[in-house]
Symmetry: C2
């Protein structure tokens, strides 16, 4: 079937239902790639940034990196740390005591993140992530976490790249956790991954240089940190940005403030059956101020239930 509005012979976004949402994306791409149009943007300036958790893959019941990955790592490391059996927040993780874990708060989460993300070389951590991502499964769908990426967003990434965009991840998750697998899953190379990071240190170890991960935050790439991360890593303002929560609001504001045309898109989690439904009051991925601003400014809001034919790639194989 032809999608005449997009000028393609084959619909580049087959998992997107026709309608105003899809149309706003396709119109933008048509406009900025049309040399005869006043809104034309040269290829080198076609920067698109994507949040990861909740935008490119699911994030419920808790961010996959800071929930299941960290918990699995604490359990794997526990035999070497007998003291954890009697020390919070580690005890809570080992005993699956969610109440005690929640009670340990942000400080508790930081402790278990540092215990699982630091103290090894970058190469060792990369292998740990690769092993986990290749085997761990989501409790609800019994699928690999990399199966829980959004098929419509994979199509969108490919569509933008086919139109000369450079696609970047700009995530609150860490660069060390994302880079080992995002190239294979999203087609986004490691050097186009902007994220949070801990400090690392160059050392000579038996005459071989290594980079050692230190238990100290280097950069937190969320909220007002996202435009900072974009400036630091990319050095250009995006012309298109995609997020799903208030943590992405400043990235979208920064994108909107450019001189030329820009596209700001929020993914709104509205499908409690096929995925999850949450927004203004969610404990993670909260979309409240962002939704108000999107409505006030006329940004594109994707209604997952209404706009997406399927959510996950595995639905195609049913």
């Amino acid at each position: 079937m032809q999608n005449k509005s997009a000028g393609w012979n084959v619909d580049p976004l087959p998992s997107w239902n026709d309608g105003t949402t899809k149309q706003s994306i396709v119109s933008f791409v048509k406009k900025i790639t049309d040399k005869s149009h006043a809104g034309y943007v040269p290829r080198e300036e076609r920067i698109a940034t994507f949040d990861n958790d909740g935008t490119l893959w699911s994030e419920q019941p808790f961010y996959f990196q800071f929930g299941p990955f960290v918990m699995d790592r604490i359990k794997a490391l526990a035999p070497k740390h007998p003291e954890w059996k009697t020390t919070q927040p580690f005890k809570a993780v080992i005993e699956d005591d969610r109440q005690a874990l929640a009670a340990s708060g942000k400080k508790g989460l930081e402790e278990i993140v540092m215990a699982t993300h630091a103290g090894m070389t970058t190469a060792e951590f990369e292998q740990i992530v690769k092993d986990w991502i290749a085997t761990a499964k989501h409790p609800r769908f019994k699928r690999l976490y990399t199966d829980m990426v959004f098929q419509p967003m994979l199509e969108l990434l490919a569509y933008l790249r086919a139109n000369g965009f450079k696609t970047f991840i700009v995530s609150g998750g860490s660069i060390g956790f994302m880079r080992p697998w995002v190239e294979g899953v999203y087609g986004i190379p490691p050097e186009q991954v902007v994220g949070s990071s801990i400090k690392i240190k160059f050392e000579m170890c038996n005459g071989k240089p290594v980079l050692v991960r230190l238990p100290e935050l280097d950069f937190f790439n969320d909220k007002a940190g996202k435009p900072v991360g974009i400036h630091k890593f990319i050095g250009r303002r995006p012309i298109a940005a995609f997020g799903n929560s208030d943590g992405d609001l400043q990235m979208l504001q920064w994108t909107a403030a450019g001189d030329g045309p820009s596209l700001m898109v929020y993914i709104h989690h509205t499908d409690g059956e096929r995925e999850w439904a949450y927004d203004r009051k969610s404990h993670i991925g909260r979309l409240d101020k962002g939704l108000d601003e999107a409505n006030a400014k006329g940004w594109t809001v994707v209604d997952m239930k209404k706009d997406w034919k399927i959510i996950y790639p595995f639905e195609l194989k049913k």
Copy 2:
């Protein structure tokens, strides 16, 4: 004329004299792009990193950013800072008192760098750099600083890119100073510039988001910082790295420690007539330990006087 050894109909490195130096570069590129060769490297892993000062352009008598740029800015800002007339190190800069400036040491340099690099938005600083780089001239050559890039290195950048490499700058200079002009001069886009940085902050100013530059060091991308910067910004190990000083040694060590083939190159400043001659005892761009290690490990050392037919592009137009 055919350069048969390179398999090209046209010599891709015409400003390089034939010899072992040029041969070592061409052989490496042939090997890693030849699918039938055991050393073949897939396109996405062809990362090449280049130091900037002294490697892609000259750096004498003092790094262009931290010497002339900073001095010119202090003088331009002086009318707004009457107190500088009586305060070191600013007084020394205004009066061109090199002795007093040298006496202010590293702390003095930091003060004048922060006074000239912070306290404005990223867009304002970008414009300041663009204006300066378009007009300021080098005292010896009476040329724009961007005319003082090395013609053989421009050819090398183009040659590597034509062979599927992604070329990155990895410099002790700051990303904010390099990004406004390196794309036009080297063909390296802003998002492939790794360098030092000061902290920046996202702010809303009259309803418009801005990024404000703060007088605080964020990251120093030199010596052991270079592999850290490479890991942070690129997330892959280079297979080829180019530097000219001990400040690049760890980057070359990190590159050499990869599993596959790698090319480590030092530019040795040996031409006191056409450029400058300096190495083991220079106050800037010192090449001492690096030269020993290059000799011991068999890395490629470019002898500028012997290996380069011309230094600067403007010599072509003589």
